[in-house]
């Protein structure tokens, strides 16, 4: 896979912006990372100073926020200018241990991905902690303790409980559908990007160049489309929902699949109600056995039929921890997909113009590493946030 089509290190790599001598494995003498770090530092510090609990407390920081952004942007321009003459054919290699003779960019990409892994590990461990540490809302609901403690939406304090998104998403095949289709879309896209790399790397002469161009841009274009599908379905699942028509021979009845937000699964949610076919039998038994404690509950009962109770009482619940962990984790993953789409847009255009050859196919390989990582994270997000 690696190391077949890269130039050597004895190569003058000219740059319009400062020293940039790659000879004999010289390091990339650039000020750009330091300038960007300073800019990002100023930006983060001033943002943190400007706001407190969602309210602006120091308007004087606003110009500094923009200053930080401008310095970061300036650093990026320097970086880009230094590498603008870099056509991707020349590939510097590490000279020291332990990465001797491995492409520097490849090692850097792996380092980056590992730092990303730590970011997602933090999100996962947070989710695990809260998932295991807080009582599930459904358990509290079924126990009936919220009635006894007057934790109803009309009269009391909220119960602090955990409501996993899977309680809504895994409640029917149609609710699972967007997430499941997304999972398949990401796996297919991992396959298509590998195929794009394979075609780009085929040795000159072994394949017609026009065939190479078409194959590479079609595979990259397919990856782009699949990434768009992924984000679109995520928006449908979060905000839009979808409509199921009446299809008699499949036994489908006309109904709407409601989005997570419309189901009330938001960071502002203040109550809990069980979803999709949950039966209130346990609570009915408790209520029947302890009528005095369940006075308020009985006051709200709409009907008792066949041992099941229907009630208008609403359990006041604080589920913001559940929704935050879900939306932050899946949203961070979605942001990575979005960044991937930006990269894929450029790469597909470049492939369309016949820009990929065996000599610079490593660019697809490095992007592919990122894209597979995004798939890898989804392999963990999907079962533990969507299914369980």
């Amino acid at each position: 896979m690696s190391g077949d089509y890269h130039g050597d290190d004895d190569h003058e790599h000219q740059s319009a912006w400062g020293p940039h001598d790659w000879s004999h494995g010289a390091p990339h003498n650039s000020w750009a990372p330091i300038i960007m770090s300073i800019g990002i530092g100023i930006f983060l510090y001033t943002v943190a100073s400007a706001y407190s609990w969602g309210e602006m407390v120091d308007p004087a920081s606003i110009p500094l926020i923009f200053l930080g952004l401008m310095i970061s942007f300036f650093g990026m321009i320097i970086w880009w200018r230094q590498d603008a003459s870099f056509d991707g054919i020349y590939e510097p290699r590490a000279t020291g241990t332990p990465f001797q003779n491995i492409q520097i960019r490849k090692v850097a990409m792996w380092m980056f991905l590992m730092s990303e892994m730590m970011v997602f590990t933090s999100l996962f461990s947070t989710y695990m902690r809260y998932r295991l540490g807080l009582t599930p809302c459904v358990e509290i609901y079924e126990s009936g303790s919220w009635i006894v403690n007057s934790q109803t939406i009309d009269s009391g304090e909220a119960v602090n409980c955990f409501l996993p998104a899977s309680e809504l998403i895994a409640s029917s095949w149609f609710h699972i559908a967007p997430g499941a289709i997304n999972t398949f879309a990401l796996i297919i896209s991992s396959f298509t990007i590998v195929q794009a790399l394979r075609w780009a790397k085929k040795p000159v002469g072994s394949v017609d160049e026009e065939v190479r161009r078409k194959r590479v841009y079609r595979y990259l274009g397919s990856t782009w489309i699949l990434a768009i599908i992924f984000l679109t379905l995520k928006m449908v699942e979060w905000f839009v929902g979808f409509y199921i028509p009446e299809i008699e021979f499949l036994g489908l009845h006309e109904h709407d699949i409601v989005s997570l937000v419309n189901e009330g699964y938001t960071i502002h949610a203040d109550h809990y109600h069980p979803h999709h076919g949950w039966e209130d039998t346990h609570l009915a038994e408790l209520a029947a056995a302890n009528p005095s404690e369940f006075e308020e509950y009985f006051a709200n009962i709409a009907s008792i039929e066949g041992g099941y109770v229907t009630t208008d009482a609403v359990m006041m619940a604080d589920i913001r921890v559940s929704t935050s962990t879900f939306f932050v984790t899946t949203g961070t993953h979605g942001a990575h997909v979005f960044i991937g789409i930006i990269g894929l847009t450029y790469m597909t255009w470049k492939a369309w113009t016949g820009g990929y050859t065996p000599q610079n196919a490593v660019s697809i390989e490095y992007f592919g590493l990122y894209w597979h990582f995004v798939d890898l994270i989804w392999v963990l997000v999907f079962p533990f946030f969507y299914l369980y």
């Binding site: 609990w53 090692v107 590992m114 807080l134 895994a170 590998v194 195929q195 597979h372 299914l387």
Partner: protein, 110 residues
Amino acid sequence: MSEHKIFGQDIYWANFIGLMVLTAIEVVAVGSEFSKAMTLFILVGIAIPKFIMIAAIFMHLWGDKDSKILTLTALFPTFFIIVMVLFIGLTHPEATTGLPEWCRPGYYKL
């Protein structure tokens, strides 16, 4: 890597089919009437091989001449992951209730 075969099939194609099948099993398992513990067991049991298949074959951590050192690089954050998952995610039961009030769920001051 690309010249490798699995069951006589192109390695990327075989890996792709394997991942699709495992994902289908995952979805069906959730739709089936298993207990929570069994469902979790199945999901973990499927996620691990999927994770390895993507890393080893699609990300070329297996079969390339520099796979070994890159695999070690990929394993570098393992210590951090173990600390996070084991000592924050799975233990320290008071993390959600025993911390100072401002650090607990429910304290938003919004």
